[in-house]
């Protein structure tokens, strides 16, 4: 099973990005093989609007079943829910710490968006 983390970097030691739609990259961690890949989110980062929707679509296309990020807005949450991707809000400093919190069951699945949407 794959879990997506938001990050500005390329390694597990890099920070977990608080933002979802405007995060620079997604770190896609494979829990079965303990390997990871990086997917750019530049297209959403620079979008005039709808960054959350586009980023959510991108996460869905990775085949991941969970997303660990700082915050997730209403439109992105709607897309992720419809695709069966669970959202976990996390305040960990690094991706490695967030991964540890996720695997040890410390994170609770979000039942709704935890922040408001943004206007253009």
């Amino acid at each position: 099973m794959k879990v997506v983390f938001t990050t500005p970097g390329d390694t597990l030691k890099d920070p977990l990005d608080n933002r979802f739609g405007r995060a620079a990259k997604f770190l896609i961690y494979d829990l079965d093989s303990n390997t990871f890949a990086i997917k750019s989110n530049e297209q959403s980062m620079t979008a005039a609007q709808g960054a959350g929707v586009q980023a959510a679509e991108s996460v869905v296309r990775t085949g991941a079943k969970a997303l660990v990020t700082g915050h997730c807005g209403p439109k992105a949450f709607r897309v992720l829910s419809a695709a069966g991707v669970k959202v976990f809000n996390c305040s960990a400093g690094t991706v490695a710490e967030a991964l540890a919190e996720y695997t040890s069951g410390k994170l609770t699945e979000a039942s709704a968006a935890d922040v408001e949407g943004h206007w253009v």
Binding site: Q49, Q54, E57, K75, R78
Partner: protein, 296 residues
């Protein structure tokens, strides 16, 4: 003073500013009142229309404005995602399941409906606001009022502007700033009046507004409001850029008092009537050559 049709297609003058709170509405409503003949004023500040407060008129008619947004027929949609690939606003997406629509992001272009190979998309109206008409003495006021929570002002502004007359003078009270709503409001105007105070902040935003009008190819002049405030840099800027200063409205406490009570300056302080008449004459001189076309 009576205004006669200046050209066959009429004359449209937008009252705009960079900075907010400089006196756009004050200039617009007082200009409309001193026109003598029938005046059409379009309040295009649809996120906060307030010209009606100074005219004390009752609503004569009101129309609800809707925009078309897509609805997806689940039975016909096979999740091919053509719609989502087409939409640059991410207002519709699909990933193997029925497409999802985000009405707040939709710009009502109708593209998703056209590219759908299965005919699964139709459109339904979504209310964005109302257009209201008022009549007060010589002034007909058309106002757009955006519904709370609706992010898209330009379509409503265009609905207000659709009321523009083909003859005579139409005044447009534009929103502040330089973003899409301002462009929508001033687009197509023959001339713009930029209202600014002579503070550093006013000057800074005036330069942005001047740049926007330059891009749009709309000639303009400046009205200095609350003159005497701030410093002389606004005047230096206008002189260097060869921008006409059409009028100066003094920093007079009586004007602020009349404004705070919702009164027109030209009625509360009749001595100022001549100032607005001169401003109107100057605008006409800048646009259609003035007296030849105006019955003074």
């Amino acid at each position: 003073m009576t205004f006669r049709a200046a050209t066959d297609r009429g004359l449209t003058v937008a009252i705009a500013s960079g900075k907010g709170g400089t006196g756009k509405t004050t200039v617009a409503v007082n200009l409309a009142r001193v026109m003598g003949g029938p005046a059409l004023l379009l309040d295009c500040d649809v996120e906060g229309p307030n010209a009606h407060l100074f005219l004390g008129a009752a609503v004569q008619r009101e129309a609800v404005i809707e925009l078309p947004i897509p609805v997806v027929d689940e039975d016909r949609c096979d999740g091919c995602a053509e719609c989502g690939r087409f939409c640059q606003y991410h207002a519709i997406i699909s990933f193997g399941a029925t497409a999802m629509v985000f009405p707040d992001l939709c710009h009502s272009c109708g593209g998703c409906m056209r590219v759908c190979p299965h005919g699964a998309i139709t459109e339904v109206g979504r209310r964005i606001g109302v257009v209201r008409a008022f009549q007060d003495d010589n002034v007909e006021l058309i106002q757009g009022c955006l519904d709370i929570g609706v992010p898209l002002a330009p379509p409503l502004i265009r609905a207000v502007k659709a009321q523009r007359q083909q003859r005579g003078l139409t005044l447009i009270d534009a929103p502040p700033g330089t973003s899409c709503p301002v462009v929508a409001a001033v687009h197509g105007a023959d001339y713009a009046v930029l209202v600014s105070d002579s503070t550093p902040f006013g000057l800074h935003d005036l330069t942005l507004a001047a740049g926007t009008l330059g891009e749009l190819g709309i000639p303009f002049g400046v009205v200095v409001n609350r003159s005497g405030l701030g410093d002389g840099r606004l005047y230096d800027y206008c002189a260097n850029e060869h921008i006409a200063i059409l009028a100066e409205i003094p920093d007079d406490r009586r004007i602020a008092e009349a404004y705070s009570r919702g009164h027109l300056i030209v009625e509360a302080i009749p001595a100022y009537r001549a100032l607005f008449e001169r401003l109107l004459a100057e605008i006409l001189r800048q646009t259609v050559g003035g007296a030849d076309h105006v019955n003074l």
